[in-house]
């Protein structure tokens, strides 16, 4: 099956509004919304499946490396900046709260567990969405409206293989690595605020981390980052790829709205899936 420019046309007639009695209108609206939502979920799943099928290949390697540079390497600065302050503020708040209970020695474990299990994967994903996800949607959206994707079809180049697969593969590789950077720098931020600035014993801070952080906490954090990588890359690529199918706008405006939708939807899905994954893992 190929997702082409008009591959969604078939579903349009299915969801066309039919006259209904006013009493049933709310039900009809809910029904249409749910069907449309399920339809989009299905299309996104097929889109992801087709992209994953093409991630491996001799010609894909260089494109994936290039995308790792754009999505991953170029996000490091912002990740470091956000993580250091997140760790510092987390250390500061935890220290004062735990001090009231005489448990300031546990601040290291609180900071590190918060970062490794929750804040690291979530904030990394949100920051990459803001920086690289929006750029991906805009880039693919412009390629769509300027017929560059149609041009790939006419050249017998699979656009999903050429444009989408490297981005999804790069996201899957970059997200856990950036999460690891976020966790490490965040813990260092916590060290700066509690040990360097507030005078907590450094050995206590590090010992608390060593005692309470276990390997499964780290693994769970990376599992989350992988889930977020797939969600963010798929949502952002999908929104750009089908920007021309939007019913609320056309052309450049459609690309703008697709970018907004991609960022908002990615952030919401990150938080929703965070809860789901946490429930499943605990």
């Amino acid at each position: 099956m190929a997702i082409t420019a008009d591959s969604q046309n078939g579903s349009e007639s299915f969801f066309q509004r039919r006259p209904v009695a006013s009493i049933f209108r709310p039900f009809a609206f809910v029904g249409r919304t749910v069907i449309s939502w399920v339809d989009s979920m299905g299309a996104t799943a097929i889109f992801l499946y087709m992209a994953l099928l093409s991630t491996v290949g001799r010609k894909q390697f260089s494109k994936t490396v290039q995308q790792i540079y754009y999505i991953g390497a170029r996000s490091i600065t912002i990740i470091i900046l956000v993580s250091v302050f997140t760790g510092m503020v987390l250390g500061l708040q935890s220290y004062h709260s735990l001090l009231k209970f005489g448990a300031s020695g546990a601040v290291g474990s609180l900071v590190s567990l918060s970062l490794i299990m929750e804040l690291g994967p979530v904030l990394t994903a949100i920051m990459i969405t803001a920086r690289a996800g929006s750029a991906i949607t805009a880039e693919i959206g412009i390629q769509r409206i300027s017929e560059q994707i149609d041009a790939l079809h006419t050249m017998r180049i699979n656009p999903i293989r050429y444009l989408i697969s490297p981005k999804i593969a790069a996201a899957i590789i970059s997200f856990p690595l950036l999460t690891a950077v976020f966790d490490l720098i965040g813990i260092m931020g916590g060290y700066i605020s509690t040990v360097v600035l507030l005078g907590l014993n450094g050995g206590v801070y590090l010992h608390s981390i060593q005692t309470y952080v276990v390997m499964s906490d780290i693994t769970n954090g990376f599992v989350k980052s992988l889930v977020f990588a797939v969600i963010v890359a798929t949502v952002c690529c999908y929104q750009g790829y089908f920007a021309h199918m939007r019913k609320d706008s056309h052309g450049a405006q459609a690309v703008g709205l697709a970018t907004t939708s991609a960022v908002v939807l990615s952030c919401v899905l990150i938080l929703v899936s965070d809860y789901v994954v946490t429930s499943l893992l605990s």
Binding site: T4, D6, K59, E147, D150, A151, H153, M155, R156, I157
Partner: protein, 416 residues
Amino acid sequence: MDTPLIEFKNVTKRFGTKTVLDRINLQIYEGQITTIIGLSGSGKSVMLKHIIGLIQPDEGAIFFRGKPIAEMKKSEIAASFAQISFMFQGNALFDSLTVYDNIAMPLRETTNLKKAEIDRRVMARIEQTELTEAINKYPSELSGGMQKRAALARALITDPQIVLFDEPTTGQDPVRKNAILSMIAQYQKKFNFTAILVSHEIPDVYFISNRILALYDRRIVFQGTPEELENFDHPFMDEVISSLEALQKELTGLYSKRQFEMLNHLQLKRRKTGEAYCLVVFSLNELNAVITKIGHDAAQEALRNMGLYIDKHFGDIGGFSTRRNTNEIITMLPYSNLSETQSIMNNFIQDFHKQIIPASQEKACKLASGESVEMTIRAGIAEGQSTTDIDSVIALAKSQQKEIGRLSCATGGVHT
């Protein structure tokens, strides 16, 4: 005739509730340049996208070398489409890649050729399309004409047997338009591919086309040679005439030679055999000397004003004009006989002396900054019949020319 290369049978395409193509039937033959003409928004590009498989028909069937595409195996479809290249209306060049990378892309992605071989082929196409100086430039750094050439080079890099051109000359100036059309004709002969063009540049595309298909009101209303189209009696041709009337050449305010010939042919063929028409030839003598003294731009501006004035004066009575040579304007009056034309000319000369000569003279004298400038405007009338060769009528009109105005500046001031 042979089996068509591409055939549409009762193809219908709808977008929502809007029917764009309605039971289309057409045949495209191998080795020819086939042009699909139609007004803007008539569904020409949609038709072209059906051929390349970007859009599927809602009803009907498309045949490739006599075989329905819908019944082909996946590998057969891939093999068929591998013979086709597409040149998009907006070029669809990848703006983040250089010209070289854009042209090399189909070879890099769809073949296992070695880098050196890809380089050799790409460089050959770059040289053929005269893009050597733009090799490392990005599409946004190129002129419109160069972008078209880059898109053409990319379309030809895989040595396709069929090339589809979607509005290849849209948005180009007349010089570039001719260059692109000549380039298509030249490469079609050189590489022997089947060219399918979509265009509304009527009649410019006629001169390179072997076959014309006319799309009108969602259906194909004509299939045949350009000559056959000129004798085609259908409301579509009225639309063609009105579109030609809207396409007056910017430079002179007149029609291009091709537009004039087409309009002339269409107007005269509607007349009964033996009915007379009249033709006026205006000449501007010593134009080159004037250009030297007042400058090219100012001379062109004066010519344009004169062209617009002639067009306005004679256009009201059904006349239409073209610039034949640098200094000649021909006006066709398809519905006037000799005595009527002479009377119209007398009125024209009077108005011309009142409105055009004094203003042009004042401007020219200012630009000549005291130098002597002199130009005479001559006009001749001749009567012809729809069966008469137009060149002989033009020659007769030229032999009848008399001076109808003079623009003169003496050294140091205006001379009247």
